[in-house]
């Protein structure tokens, strides 16, 4: 009886150990999430390539670090924050929309609006001028009669 209880205790301890190790085990990370985070970061040894797109060794190592951090339970934003802490905002492919950076987001919009405004003004000016040209010219009836006669005579 005593032996059976001991065995039961051992079994329970084993189950508990298995459960805790399972929960402590790292989270499975989808490659999609790794790719998504890597896509936000600039490959530091490339020109205009993201960590997700670069075939360089450094980018590969950075993807491994992203995967590791996600597996350790960090959120994609926390992983991004880690890289920003190390490299500065320079590491982000799209600058955050605040402060001086807003200029980058707003200026193109301002230019597009200004461009439309210039086009609208110019088109209005041009059409107005053409209308002016198209106005019928007052012709002296005597003169037009004389032209008609001379044309008919063929001289």
């Amino acid at each position: 009886m005593r032996g059976a209880r001991a065995r039961l205790l051992v079994a329970a301890a084993l189950v508990a150990a298995a459960l805790t190790s399972a929960s402590a085990q790292s989270k499975t990370v989808s490659e999609e999430t790794v790719h998504e985070v890597a896509g936000r970061l600039r490959c530091v040894v490339c020109q205009n390539l993201s960590v997700a797109d670069s075939p360089s060794e450094m980018a590969g190592q950075m993807r491994a670090i992203i995967r590791e951090r996600l597996a350790a339970g960090e959120s994609p934003d926390e992983v991004q924050r880690y890289f920003v802490q190390r490299y500065g905002e320079w590491i982000l492919l799209s600058p955050p929309r605040r402060g001086f950076n807003l200029l980058v987001w707003l200026l193109p919009l301002v230019f597009v609006i200004a461009g439309f405004a210039v086009v609208a003004i110019l088109v209005r000016q041009w059409t107005r001028r053409r209308r002016g040209v198209a106005e019928p010219v007052a012709v002296d009836p005597a003169m037009s009669e004389r032209i008609r006669r001379e044309v008919e005579r063929g001289s």
Partner: protein, 178 residues
């Protein structure tokens, strides 16, 4: 009205020109490190000789942490003799030089160390964790860590004799941590 228009377009272009002039005069290589004045990230690596290399073991010393690679020519080749010479000159004065080879092959790293006769500890950062922790984006890059363990200077490109001496002397002149 017409006169105003004639001036308005060049005037509108002026801020854009100023912005471009400012932007084009800046070097895209000069990226300020957000780690300056911050505690140097700790790390634990194994040197080529198999010894442990950890920043924490050298607290109270001025640490010159150099990231390099055997394929980094000419920068790393220029600074290797400078680092070795100054390491020998300053090692008794509480300075340690550490080399971290990144993105490199073991044999190439060993050959580089042998060719230049480097005697300061050198280790390989095989996973890239240390280089990313320090925000390294190229080689050579050198970090000067003060006696309090804070990163004080980040130098991109080859270290010169003058830069090494000036920076290290300045950091040595500071009081030791209590």
């Amino acid at each position: 009205m017409k006169r105003l228009w004639r001036w308005l377009i060049p005037l509108a272009a002026l801020p854009v020109l100023v912005l471009l002039a400012y932007g084009f005069r800046m070097s895209p290589r000069d990226i300020p490190s957000p780690l300056l004045q911050k505690p140097a990230p700790s790390f634990g690596l194994t040197t080529l000789d198999g010894a442990a290399l950890a920043l924490a073991a050298h607290r109270g010393k001025v640490v010159v942490l150099n990231f390099w690679a055997s394929w980094c020519y000419p920068g790393c080749y220029e600074e290797a003799p400078v680092l070795e010479k100054n390491w020998r000159a300053y090692r008794e004065r509480g300075v340690i030089v550490m080399g971290v080879a990144i993105q490199d092959k073991r044999e190439a790293v060993e050959k580089f160390v042998k060719d230049f006769g480097l005697t300061f500890p050198n280790a390989q950062d095989l996973t890239g964790t240390v280089s990313v922790d320090y925000g390294v984006y190229g080689v050579p890059e050198t970090f000067f860590v003060d006696r309090q363990g804070r990163i004080r200077v980040k130098h991109v490109s080859a270290v010169t004799d003058e830069l090494f001496r000036d920076t290290v002397e300045r950091l040595l002149a500071e009081p030791e941590p209590r």
